[in-house]
């Protein structure tokens, strides 16, 4: 992609109207260490213009109880709404036997699709986990089915051949037996983390972090089930800035922290 092509497409990007592959191409160009012809400035101009469009929507009085609900959520308190928040959704999702059966089916489909794509694009193969890794992940999801904690999002991601599997394990010196896998798909800007063997969080919380360029961004509280397993989908917005370097989990005071207060006890590095 040339700078001219970038500047032609950046307007649709600001409107979030590009297809995932187009968006990825745009971001790759912006990250290229070349002498850009005003690409960053044009991106910022486009973003400001898109933001301006919101002004045509009339401002509306929010519900009187809006702040109390927000306050409860930032404090880690329960939602008063009976509706399930779609994102971030850190409570483990119950999964039915049907979903578990779908896991096996999706895996077979993913494998078939993966094989076809391999023949077409060798580059994509680098993003795929090894067969054994996927098999282990599938088995992990099967195990989670038994504890009603598997998450459909994980199954859906596993189906995609471009999903990268990132092993999460104890950091040096932590002696933790916890382990897990992050399913990361940068084309879709989606990631799901599967952790097992977390002990119950009493008087503390496990907090997930997305780390990029040395900066840790909170990605949600992990609430393990009785069997110590948890599946958590990472907010897509946290992946908009590019591929994370690391996924990590720390122990934090109840409700979590805006920045880590302890060293990660498990972490997984994302291979570029």
């Amino acid at each position: 992609m040339t700078c001219s092509e970038f500047k032609a497409s950046v307007w649709a990007h600001a409107l979030d109207a590009l297809e995932p592959t187009e968006r990825a191409e745009l971001e790759r160009h912006l990250a290229e260490p070349i002498a850009h012809e005003g690409c960053q400035d044009e991106l910022e101009r486009a973003m400001r213009t898109a933001q301006a469009l919101s002004a045509v929507a009339p401002a509306l009085s929010p519900p009187a109880e809006a702040w109390s609900k927000i306050e409860a959520r930032i404090a880690g308190g329960p939602q008063t709404s009976g509706r399930q928040a779609r994102r971030p959704a850190w409570l483990p999702w119950a999964v039915s036997f049907i979903a578990a059966a779908a896991c096996a089916l999706l895996f077979v489909k993913a494998w078939t699709y993966r094989s076809a794509l391999l023949a077409q694009n060798a580059e994509i193969s680098q993003l795929r986990g090894a067969t054994a890794e996927r098999d282990a992940c599938r088995q992990e999801l099967e195990a989670m089915r038994k504890s009603s904690q598997a998450q459909p999002a994980a199954l859906a991601l596993l189906e995609l051949p471009t999903t990268q599997l990132v092993a999460i394990s104890a950091t040096p010196g932590s002696n933790s037996t916890s382990r897990g896998t992050a399913l990361l798909n940068m084309e879709e800007r989606r990631a799901v983390v599967l952790i097992s063997l977390l002990s119950p969080a009493v008087g503390k919380d496990y907090e997930l972090w997305v780390i990029r360029a040395g900066s840790a961004v909170p990605a949600g509280i992990l609430k393990p089930g009785q069997d110590g397993r948890v599946v958590a989908e990472i907010d897509r917005s946290l992946l908009q800035s590019g591929r994370p370097d690391t996924f990590a989990v720390t122990v934090e005071p109840p409700g979590g922290s805006p920045a880590p207060t302890t060293a990660p006890f498990i972490a997984g590095s994302v291979k570029g």
């Binding site: 032609a8 497409s9 307007w11 649709a12 600001a14 409107l15 979030d16 109207a17 590009l18 297809e19 910022e44 101009r45 486009a46 973003m47 400001r48 213009t49 898109a50 933001q51 301006a52 469009l53 919101s54 002004a55 045509v56 929507a57 009339p58 401002a59 509306l60 009085s61 929010p62 519900p63 809006a66 702040w67 609900k69 927000i70 306050e71 959520r73 930032i74 404090a75 939602q79 709404s81 509706r83 928040a85 779609r86 994102r87 971030p88 900066s215 961004v217 909170p218 990605a219 907010d235 897509r236 917005s237 946290l238 800035s241 922290s257 805006p258």
Partner: protein, 193 residues
């Protein structure tokens, strides 16, 4: 928004955001007070369902709480950033509903009470709304149409092409020309007066 017309309270918003980064919930409340009417308005405009818009409002400020350090002043104001988050989450929810549910229904916002912000803010919002509305009206109708489909209905260029039965290249050209012209018009507010 055109930086030259950015509200005077942008600097105050950024100071509040700095406090949010430090974990100050009261600062988040102040930002919520300032920005929730526009965030709720855009969510309602896109989703056309008050319960959904209320959930999006919560998710928006939860995201502000978590991602405050990611705010980039080069890309607009704090309020613009908040509204962008609300819009993105609303579009995500709209997409999750499926294409069939995207068809626009009657505008329920007409039966909802309008926010009653302080007079200065009300004036600023009215000015911004009129200015952007005038700029949109100044665009050729086919360019305005694609921008509205992309921004308020969350359609990709491919989806717009399918919706309008137009070649994808035509839609891409309309999006680019429309946005470039809109940016130019918003940078020269006096032209619209």
């Amino acid at each position: 928004m055109n930086p030259r017309s950015a509200p005077a309270h942008s600097a105050a918003d950024r100071r509040l955001l700095d406090r949010v980064i430090g974990g100050d919930a009261e600062a988040l409340r102040a930002i919520t007070d300032r920005c929730s009417a526009r965030a709720f308005g855009i969510a309602q405009q896109i989703l056309r369902a008050r319960p959904d818009a209320e959930e999006i409002l919560q998710e928006t400020f939860l995201e502000v709480w978590k991602r405050a350090r990611e705010f980039d002043p080069a890309r607009g104001s704090v309020e613009g950033w908040v509204v962008t988050i609300a819009r993105s989450r609303s579009i995500d929810r709209l997409r999750a509903r499926g294409a069939a549910a995207r068809t626009r229904e009657s505008d329920p916002s007409s039966s909802m009470s309008q926010a009653a912000p302080p007079p200065l803010e009300a004036a600023e919002r009215r000015e911004a709304r009129e200015r952007v509305g005038a700029a949109l009206k100044a665009l050729p109708v086919e360019q305005r149409e694609v921008l509205q489909l992309a921004y308020f209905e969350g359609l990709s260029q491919s989806e717009i092409a399918a919706r309008l039965a137009q070649p994808l290249g035509t839609v891409k050209t309309r999006v680019r020309l429309g946005m470039e012209k809109l940016a130019g018009l918003l940078a020269e507010p006096e032209v619209l007066r």
